[in-house]
């Protein structure tokens, strides 16, 4: 896909001299703005192009615009609210379009304890989400049932639905949740997730 050269200031990623784009820490990622200059000096810019695999391009697009559906049941939902609110502001990473309809979202954040009574609901919601879909189990309860090892509590949501990222904590701090989601982004970028 040919692109035109644009006047963009340098990349935010520090690069050593003489290192080719795509060889540094962002290896495998799509080229960042300002780094698409892969042609030799003097070459005509409107003939420039870069190549990538379809997978990489698709993964890049997917990983940068996740629309989360918060399945918030308990205390973790409050920390999720903190994460999307003014102080921590998850919008910095492109995850702020919180959708409450499973049909409009591709990231299910299970925040809180899942009990046996709500497990069929969770399953139905997961099934309603369009592909590709990703699941983050936020907190100890969603991960393993936490310290509720009792007669009415699901011992980890992987009993019901597949999980991509587990975030520990009771509840996880907003930093913890953000780290988990950025890890998910990395996973998608690397193309590890195939559904």
């Amino acid at each position: 896909m040919p692109i035109k050269e644009r006047e963009v200031p340098g990349s935010i990623i520090q690069r050593k001299d003489q290192q080719l784009p795509g060889e540094g820490p962002e290896k495998g990622l799509l080229t960042l703005p300002g780094e698409s200059r892969t042609f030799a000096p003097g070459e005509e810019s409107d003939r420039s192009f870069f190549t990538t695999t379809m997978d990489t391009a698709v993964n890049w697009a997917r990983s940068n615009s996740l629309w989360p559906l918060p399945f918030g049941t308990a205390c973790c939902a409050i920390e999720f609210m903190s994460t999307v609110s003014s102080h921590y502001d998850m919008a910095r990473f492109g995850f702020e379009v919180v959708r409450f309809s499973p049909r409009q979202s591709d990231l299910l954040i299970v925040a809180g304890t899942i009990v046996d009574k709500i497990a069929p609901v969770l399953k139905r919601i997961y099934e309603q989400m369009p592909e590709p879909k990703y699941v983050v189990a936020m907190g100890a309860c969603a991960t393993s049932g936490g310290f509720y090892r009792m007669y009415h509590v699901v011992q980890g949501i992987d009993e019901v639905i597949p999980v991509d990222i587990w975030v520990p904590g009771c509840p996880p701090t907003p930093e913890g949740l953000m780290y988990g989601i950025l890890k998910l982004k990395e996973k998608i970028d690397r193309g590890e997730m195939r559904r």
Partner: protein, 591 residues
């Protein structure tokens, strides 16, 4: 068919030495004298006073309980109008019926509580008390769900907290705590609202619509089914239990100290208040009091948590009405409060900061300065939002008259806290039965007329200002010196440096970890003012390291049971607006 999973997880740590001393409440003569006075006034052969309890307590004949409840409610000299709680306790092997069904009532006139006890067994039903107190509708369903006690004449006696495929009754002592029953989608029962008003039928087709449990308008995990006639709700049924995390059974399988983190997760908006309520109940059983310094820190944190609770409630209520900015704006002071809590104990929203007998660790040196900074910053936030909202035409038209409940109904449904005060009843546990030294502070109890969403908003905003007044006084008094936990090796762990250097402390440490705190044999009820109303704990001790029974009186539970009646005759947008103002916290509702 449901599958059965059996995976018992409770570790066996050997028989614990037993404390066989009976619990003697403080001021027991006075309580017994008051009980004798009531019994003498009623002069009924069906009522027997049980002396030596922490409240005036009566055993009532099973057949007569409805009449006795009605007498307690309507007798001009008694006036026990507010139904607080109805719950069960299981004593397997007892000759005259294994279950106690306990009713607790409160009288505004006398400012006191009474406890009525009915004994029954698996087969014999108890007369339902729903015609007297509407609040007991859900409470009786809970007793049925948890113990299998049948209530004769109950309008809708089915499981409330556990699911449809559940077998057995979980709080019975012979139920394995880890035995689960799996619910599949085809077992889920359809929710049919009861429609009593058939006046306009025929004009539109009636539609029954399900809202929740995962729905943008439903906070947490609530589920409501409404029957609509055109746009008007003619019947609503609520379903709860989607966050039933077995709090009460968990407490029975853990020691007294280990139960504290579970209390955090009841009302996770204001966790410290739950800690205080539970710990003070056990302290009441033990006959001790936390040191002054600990009480002072807890008072400051409790009031900050109350503010944080109301901030989220008002913020999310406004989000439901379309005003998103206030929510984000209110989260800033909330973050500051979290940071203060974090500086004390390392956790943000679920601190587990208290211990029985005091605090886990002392507050940092700059605690008061940081509190002062927060207290000084909050009034601007409240003033900004209140200035935008209070006279806002959209807000007023959405909330005035939405979810209205009359004072009489609110009391009959067992409302407490801001929702009761919004109907004009100035009942606040901090004034009525002060704890943590609230009696020494100067503050007002705000009330409002109308009992609608707007009134609840006004009460919450004013309560935050009153909490700031308390905080201001508390900061000016300064921090009392001294320890933060009682000096009793049978209750508090000795400091680490002594454990490593003294034989005796090492033994005490070992004994306390292995055998736990063992309060004297008895039962105590204690209440605090939570974010949503009276948060009560009833703890039964049998002298071992585990509580025999912990009952929490969740203030949300009776409030949400009235929701269907509150929104009948209104539209769905009204229902959404009023649900936000009730501040239903799922963790507390489903305990």
């Amino acid at each position: 068919m449901s599958t059965l999973t059996r995976n018992s997880s409770i570790p066996f740590t050997g028989p614990a030495p037993t404390n066989r001393n009976p619990y003697v409440p403080a001021g027991v003569e006075k309580i017994d004298a008051r009980g004798a006075e009531i019994a003498g006034h009623l002069n009924s052969p069906h009522i027997t006073q049980r002396p030596g309890e922490d409240l005036p307590t009566f055993e009532v004949d099973r057949e007569q309980i409805v009449d006795v409840l009605r007498t307690f409610k309507d007798d001009p000299k008694l006036q026990y109008k507010l139904p607080l709680d109805c719950f069960g306790v299981d004593y397997p092997g007892r000759q005259d019926g294994r279950f106690d069904v306990i009713y607790q009532l409160y009288s505004f006139d006398h400012n006191e509580r009474v406890r009525l006890i009915v004994k029954t067994d698996e087969e014999t039903p108890v007369q339902t008390s729903v015609p007297v107190f509407k609040a007991f509708d859900w409470f009786e369903r809970e007793v049925f769900d948890m113990y299998g006690v049948k209530f004769e004449g109950h309008p809708n006696l089915r499981r409330i907290l556990t699911h449809e495929a559940f077998r057995g009754h979980a709080l019975r002592k012979d139920y394995d705590p880890a035995q689960r029953w799996i619910l599949t989608e085809k077992d889920v029962a359809r929710l049919e609202p009861v429609v009593t008003d058939h006046a306009d039928e025929g004009e539109y087709d009636r539609v029954t619509m399900n809202i929740g449990p995962s729905h943008p308008a439903m906070h947490g995990t609530l589920r409501v089914a409404v029957t609509l006639d055109g746009e008007i709700i003619v019947g609503a049924a609520q379903e709860i239990g989607y966050l039933h995390r077995c709090f009460e059974k968990s407490c029975e399988t853990h020691t007294y100290q280990q139960a504290i983190p579970y209390t955090d997760r009841l009302n996770y908006m204001s966790a410290i208040i739950n800690n205080v309520g539970y710990c003070q109940t056990v302290e009441k059983l033990l006959g001790i009091k936390a040191p002054e310094r600990a009480q002072h820190i807890l008072l400051i944190l409790s009031e900050l948590m109350r503010i944080a609770d109301h901030l989220v409630c008002v913020g999310t209520n406004l989000v439901d009405l379309g005003a998103l900015t206030n929510f984000w704006y209110f989260f800033q002071p909330r973050e500051e409060i979290y940071q203060l809590v974090e500086s004390c104990c390392g956790a943000r929203i679920l601190p587990s900061y208290t211990r029985i007998g005091g605090l886990a660790v002392d507050a940092p040196d700059d605690f008061l300065e940081n509190t002062r900074r927060i207290v000084d910053s909050i009034p601007a936030f409240i003033a900004d939002v209140d200035g935008l909202v209070r006279r806002n035409r959209i807000f007023r038209e959405r909330t005035l008259g939405a979810g209205r409940i009359s004072q009489e109904d609110a009391i009959n449904y067992g409302f407490t806290g801001p929702c009761l005060r919004a109907t004009g009843v100035p009942y606040d546990v901090r004034k009525a039965s002060p704890y943590l030294g609230y009696e020494t502070y100067d503050f007002d109890v705000p009330i409002a007329d109308g009992g609608d969403t707007y009134a609840r908003y006004l009460v919450r905003i004013e309560e935050m200002r009153q909490s700031l007044r308390i905080l201001d006084q508390a900061i000016k008094r300064g921090m009392p010196d001294g320890p933060v936990i009682v000096d009793d090796p049978y209750i508090a762990l000795p400091p680490k440096e002594r454990v490593y250097n003294e034989m005796e402390s090492l033994i005490y440490h070992f004994k306390l970890i292995m055998h736990g705190i063992q309060p004297p044999v008895g039962a105590a009820y204690h209440q605090v003012e939570g974010g949503n109303g009276e948060l009560g704990f009833y703890v039964v001790s049998d002298g071992t390291k585990n509580p025999y029974r912990v009952r929490v009186r969740p203030p949300c539970f009776p409030i949400f049971s009235a929701f269907g009646e509150m929104v009948t005759g209104q539209t769905i947008p009204d229902a959404v607006a009023s649900l936000g103002s009730l501040n239903i916290i799922a963790g507390e509702l489903d305990h």
